[in-house]
């Protein structure tokens, strides 16, 4: 196939791959949300025609050997989130080939790190239709890895045939520094988690996961921590020890109602502020089980009208 033929072929096929990209992006976002995983970014693109031709010419690939005609990328904050995201991708696309770029590096090397998947759309993917059989590349990486990938691409040092040793050393040091930053972010996150009492951590983790799954929204993390600590004062010691289970049970029993309430108010600006914070699940739990004490406790710290509006949203106005 000549270069001209390849361009023509791609221009004909590109609309289909555009649809593939949108479908892959949509399903990854939906499944990540169901799993309660907050990704910084989920993006996709069909390959630019010039970029496809460059790959064919530079790397001597045939048209069919270019596997990233459609590509998606998932970027997360911390290294320990890569595993769960990979699990989601592998569950969506059972027909996959995985390439962990970190494993390609020797133990004394640093450089580009990410997890690449070449996936094939098959019958059970919930995508289906005329997209069946098409391939897509999915990259999974952390924010630090993504920064390195973007910057090193901009520097275009790979295009230079001979990189002077000193420059090579600088590049390697910078790559290592990015990996150190990546690992240190996770370390700090873990250490901070250990400073928080177990019951609070359990409650916050559970609330955040369920809230994201139900709403797909970002929230004020600092306020959540502060509010959860305050609201947990309403739980007696035996109940407090198993508050994580209390939250799980409440969400399980009221999943449909929670979804309904969130959907009802998502399209409007006129709504209680706390409605789109994860701790609202605790508020609803207390409205059902202990509304008198909740009202007194809440009013000592937060605007009473916020709780009144939340109670109305839940269908149980305060006495």
């Amino acid at each position: 196939m000549t270069v001209r033929d390849a361009r023509e072929q791609w221009l004909k096929e590109r609309p289909q791959y555009e649809r593939l990209c949108k479908a892959v992006e949509k399903i990854i976002k939906a499944e990540l949300r169901l799993a309660g995983i907050v990704a910084i970014e989920v993006v996709s693109r069909p390959k630019d025609p010039d970029s496809l031709l460059r790959k064919i010419i530079r790397l001597s690939k045939t048209y069919d050997e270019v596997t990233d005609k459609a590509a998606a990328r998932v970027v997360v904050q911390f290294r320990d989130e890569l595993g769960p995201v990979c699990e989601v991708v592998e569950n969506i696309f059972p027909d996959f080939k995985k390439d962990d770029k970190t494993e390609e590096l020797k133990d004394y090397e640093s450089g580009y790190q990410a997890i690449h998947y070449d996936v094939v759309v098959s019958e059970g993917n919930k995508i289906g239709g005329d997209l069946e059989g098409l391939k897509c590349e999915i990259q999974v990486r952390t924010l630090c890895q993504d920064l390195w990938a973007v910057m090193s691409h901009s520097l275009s040092y790979k295009a230079v045939l001979t990189v002077p040793p000193d420059l090579k050393r600088q590049i390697n040091l910078l790559s290592a520094a990015m990996e150190i930053a990546d690992r240190t972010f996770l370390g700090i996150q873990t250490s901070i988690g250990e400073l928080v009492p177990a019951t609070v951590l359990s409650a916050v983790t559970s609330l955040e996961r369920h809230f994201y799954r139900l709403t797909g929204r970002q929230f004020d993390l600092g306020l959540t921590h502060e509010s959860v600590v305050y609201l947990l004062e309403l739980y007696e010691p035996p109940e407090l020890a198993t508050v994580g289970k209390t939250i799980e049970d409440f969400v399980a029993a009221n999943s449909d109602k929670l979804s309904h309430v969130f959907d009802k108010y998502s399209a409007t600006e006129n709504r209680p502020f706390f409605l789109f914070q994860p701790e609202v699940i605790l508020v609803f739990d207390r409205l059902v089980k202990d509304n008198f004490r909740l009202a007194e406790h809440w009013n000592a710290k937060y605007p009473p009208e916020e709780l009144e509006d939340l109670a109305i949203a839940w269908g149980t106005p305060l006495p």
Binding site: E269, N270, N291, F292, E296, T316, P317, P319
Partner: protein, 359 residues
């Protein structure tokens, strides 16, 4: 199935407004020398965005879902056209349920049955969706006046202009005072709830009769005498079983008797708990009422069946000593406190009348 569905109660979190229509009802002067007035009737429903839909849903929930609404049934016979219109709206015989026409008939009926002392206002018919089926609400709203600020500049100087608004009718902080809400139960029967809080010069009962009976053509489902007696017995049992401290127990019983003797027309379970009981037993009290079958949160008070039991109260000790008196006398003259060895001590202050034998 949720507990609420089992009891056919409505979960107001699912209340969604589909459409509403508003008519203006002027004062109806009946004197011949006063000008005749006619309602200002709308021809179509008012446009609604999601903000307005949530606003009205919140207002209806805040009143009907508050625990202070009465369960009602259609009265028979009645001169009000409302029951028949509600039936037609909830059980339409054709695709056109006649929503607009029904609202006009309701508006004309309200205007006709109002006296000259009733203020003018608005009547709104609301069609809504529930978790299962639909609900129809009739809102009677009084217009309000208020002031609004607008930033302005005069002669290059900043100030606020003030607009006097004569056509307000609902603000975020005001409740709907008069609401009738009707929906179908699983058995295709119509269930009604009425919320009626009137602030006026007439007695609560009189005013309530106008809205409930004359306008809506309804009556209370439960006989107030039976509800009041059930509440009294259940409340007494709860207080005696759940409040250990003798002084607090006596105080709670005193409050119960005072509440039953008061001029208030209604009893609200949640309201009683909040006003009279200690915080650590408030929720348990409400749960106890539900557990013993007092399904309604609010009911009309009628002490006819318990009149003899509410005039006096008795404090009875295990050693067969009793102190009997009116709640007021008990409150002022009897002090109860804990004594040694788990005992309780009562101190009665007063001038001795006589000592005599008693069977």
């Amino acid at each position: 199935m949720s507990p609420l569905l089992k009891t056919m109660k409505v979960d107001f979190a699912y209340l969604g407004i589909d459409r509403l229509i508003i008519h203006e009802i002027p004062k109806h002067f009946r004197a011949k020398d006063k000008p005749k007035s006619q309602p200002l009737l709308s021809e179509i429903e008012s446009p609604l965005d999601q903000d307005l839909k949530n606003f009205f849903a919140g207002k209806i929930t805040g009143s009907i879902g508050s625990g202070e609404a009465f369960e009602v049934v259609f009265d028979e016979p009645t001169k009000s056209p409302v029951p028949a219109l509600i039936e037609k709206l909830l059980l339409p015989q054709s695709n056109d349920d006649g929503f607009v026409d029904a609202s006009k008939q309701i508006a004309l009926h309200l205007h006709e049955c109002q006296t000259g002392s009733s203020p003018g206002g608005l009547v709104t018919l609301v069609d809504s969706s529930l978790q299962q089926g639909k609900g129809i609400s009739i809102l009677k709203i009084e217009k309000e006046e208020g002031a609004r600020l607008r930033q302005a500049e005069h002669d290059g100087r900043k100030t606020f202009d003030i607009d006097y608004l004569r056509d307000l009718f609902l603000t975020k902080r005001t409740k709907l005072f008069k609401v009738g809400f009707f929906h179908l139960t699983g058995k295709k029967k119509i269930r009604g709830l009425v919320f009626d809080k009137q602030t006026g010069y007439q007695s609560e009962i009189e005013v309530a009769n106008f809205f409930l009976s004359t306008f809506l053509g309804c009556r209370l489902k439960q006989d107030p005498r039976i509800s009041t007696k059930a509440f009294f017995n259940a409340a007494q049992d709860f207080i005696n079983s759940n409040i250990d401290d003798a002084g607090k127990k006596a105080e709670a019983i005193t409050h119960l008797l005072s509440e039953l003797s008061s001029n208030r027309a209604n009893i609200t379970v949640n309201g009683f708990a909040k006003e009279y009981l200690q915080k650590n037993v408030q929720k348990a009290f409400v749960d106890h009422m539900k557990a013993v079958g007092i399904a309604e949160d609010t009911f009309r008070k009628d002490t006819e069946l318990i009149a003899n039991q509410t005039r006096k109260m008795a404090i009875e000790f295990q050693n067969e000593i009793s102190i009997v008196g009116t709640p007021e006398a008990m409150k002022d003259n009897v002090e109860l406190k804990k004594a040694a060895h788990g005992q309780d001590q009562a101190t009665v202050t007063g001038k001795l009348k006589h000592v005599r034998s008693k069977k």
